[in-house]
Amino acid sequence: MKSSILVFPGTNRERDVAHALVRAGSAEPAYVWHHDTSLPPSDLIVVPGGFAHGDYLRCGAMAARSPIMPAVIEAAAKGVPILGICNGFQVLCESGLLPGALMRNAALKFVCRDVTLEVATSDSPFTHSLAKGHRMTVPVAHHDGNYFADPETLKALEDGDRVAFRYVDNPNGSINDIAGILSENRRVLGMMPHPENATDPKIGRIDGQGLFTAIATALEGAAA
């Protein structure tokens, strides 16, 4: 599996997700600088967490207009799987690859804690090996993770089985307890929690590994 990880000024979880991918069997991922205009051959594109451009203006808004983004949007149109985590989810929403928006947490404070997620659909390259209803404990770490979409969009997400994960104990006020959503073609996933920080038995958190293993097997299967 060849993965590319986008790096904006202010991105700060790129190494975390690289480690998770390598643990799942990926080759060493390529870091792609925001000023680049093309991507190396990629089976997976990751938009990692952080504070791209300082989250000044609006989370993800400037990053979504980076020189690299047209190449990402083009890859998405070709069906290359794209995973956006936390700030990456915000970037994907701002770039139009995913619907809705992430608002300030309902409690108005940054929150870093373990949350329990429930897999809401197995129908995606990211969740195909996770049973619907499967629960996993992974951390969140964000100030703006309160997912919102207008009723029409929300209906489309729910009717289309495009909610990937829901919070069991909603930490930020997200509508319908939504923690992660899929694009219409189910090949773009945006999620606020950080499965990449729960992939290491020696640290004592491993529940996030399933997602990366699922991606690796899906992509290897596709390549074979």
């Binding site: 000024p9 202010g10 979880r13 600088w33 504070f51 451009h53 300082g54 870093c112 770490a141 020696k202």
Partner: protein
Amino acid sequence: MTIANTAITPEIVAEHGLTPDEYDRVLDIMGREPTLTELGIFSVMWSEHCSYKSSRVWLKKFPTERPWVIQGPGENAGVIDIGDGLAAIFKIESHNHPSFIEPYQGAATGVGGILRDVFTMGARPIANLNALRFGAPDHPKTKHLVSGVVAGIGGYGNCVGVPTVAGETEFDPAYNGNILVNAMTVGLARADRIFYAKAAGIGNPVVYVGAKTGRDGIHGATMASAEFNEDSEEKRPTVQVGDPFTEKLLIEACLELMAEDAIVAIQDMGAAGLTSSSVEMSDKGGTGIDLDLDKVPVREEGMTAYEIMLSESQERMLMVLKPEATEKARAIMEKWELDYAEIGFVTDTGRLRLSKDGEIKADIPVQPLVSQSPVYDRPYLPTPPRAVLAPEETTAPGDLMQALVRLMGGPNLSSRRWIWEQYDHLIMGDTAIRPGGDASVVRVRDTDKALALSVDCTPRYCYADPVQGGRQAVAECWRNITATGAQPLAMTDNLNFGNPERPEIMGQFAGCVVGMAEACDVLDFPVIGGNVSLYNETAGQAILPTPVVGGVGVLDDIEKRVPIAYGAEGLTLIEIGANTGWLGSSRYLRDIEGEDKGAPPPVDLALERKTGDAVRGLIADGLIEACHDISDGGVLVAVTEMALASRIGADIAPDAALPLHAWAFGEDQARYVVATNAPDTVIERLAALDIPATSLGKTGGTTLTVGSGMTISLDSVAEAHEGFFPTLMGE
């Protein structure tokens, strides 16, 4: 060019915080009247903050050397060898006054400053810690200060992507008018790739990188702005404003540049900005430096030499580069969208020469500026000893378990979750023991090693008996690291005290330093850097003496760590160390009985050493499932904290030889509670070393039971414990 001249009046000298004697010394060194810019430079370099003039004679007492110390005090941060060719680099620093004036920015820039001290030396920062002290919870400013400081620390640390993994927070009316915000950063580097601040290579370029220079923070401490300015608007000191986004870029850019063979010397621009960085680099290298201030990137037009030199704008670095590396360095800074400017060069004159607008604005001999800075051996009055308080002389609570709930739900022993959930403590994915235990444990990436990190101080002990309090601060930090199974290696200190010109305050300072030095020596826990913050008082009311200790230990196998949570039913809880029911200066007396009396518990350092080494050995041999040091609140609070962390109850028996409350809440030192599956082996091994060990009881159930019949549900303790902060903050 000519020397620019402004008449220096005694008023201007006084406004710069220099005494007439100190100014005479300036005249001696200069051989003429200084320019205003020169006076400003002397003023900041000789300020208490930069020169340590009141503390230096005492700081020499600290043991600073051990075989594993690579760099002790005197650089941006201290460096220790942690094996496998790796080094841990760390330091603690205060940002007390700015945080009181503007809590968010004050605390945020405190974090930014200490991060720079660490990555300046070539380290990637991997953990932040903080030690916070606020006034009484019901003081009108407290809530605002707590909310701002916590948001500021989080806002900065979260954005730069360094986990905030540990800390301590205390409330006491002594901090009503002067809170304490001490921030610590720990970084990792290759032991053979450490960067220092020693300028070298005559003619080498001096390069400025990072953010632009503005008028923020100019001379904030000493200058009353209006009196001597031609343009008072322009010289108004303001609180510095932090930009963690720029800091993040600066970290990545510096680390990228450090991977090249480009840097001769590097120093961050912290307190006293461009002044202290250029002076320190040339002093350490025995060189001179010429700077053309017209080349300094500025944020505002019309800045004077004085303002440029004294600005404390954040997120800036000064470097001496190899001449052939400048284009590479420029390219890296441009990639990260940071300013890069060659503003001068290293000379052999031994002088700091500053030019601007075609004039020489300052021309100071560097060596005398540094080495002839004033040093005061200030008179001190030792704190009179307090009488030892027998357990029988204290008031027992009507109901032990209710007293326990009040302590666990009180300002000082309640859960700090409200704070640390606002800090990203998991980024980097290496946090193995999170905030809320003894020390936090962070893995060293790509190895099986981990660092154990803790910050500690018990100011009420330091107030009652500075020597014992100083010892205890070091011992508690060392114990917290030990309780995870790690070997404590070195510490950094943040000495927060009142006005050193008052002999009783100087007596507190001297006593604490003596006690700390003794403890460092016996525990082989050297001081490798630190910070002194004096004049922490408002309207003659000094803070409690607060010498905060930030310690680092190493665990060779991260899987051998133990938490405070015991995680299973049916384990035996053992109290290690002797419990004499020492209630003098205890948390119980202060928070439950409202009394501040009695000598604090004495710290027998040899016993600390022996007990801690034994506990660490038991952990290394896999005999211990959980371990917690006994400190504030005594053995019952320690067991309760373990039970809360485990969400499993416990049933323990008191020592019938002691008054119940003294057994429960006494604060004798050199003690731990461990949970084990092998109680006989543990007790035998400790008996062989003459270390007292008492079986307290067993883990299990959903209640906490003491003796026969004193029972409380763990849920009700948890509710009180978790409730304090949200209630205080009005949530």
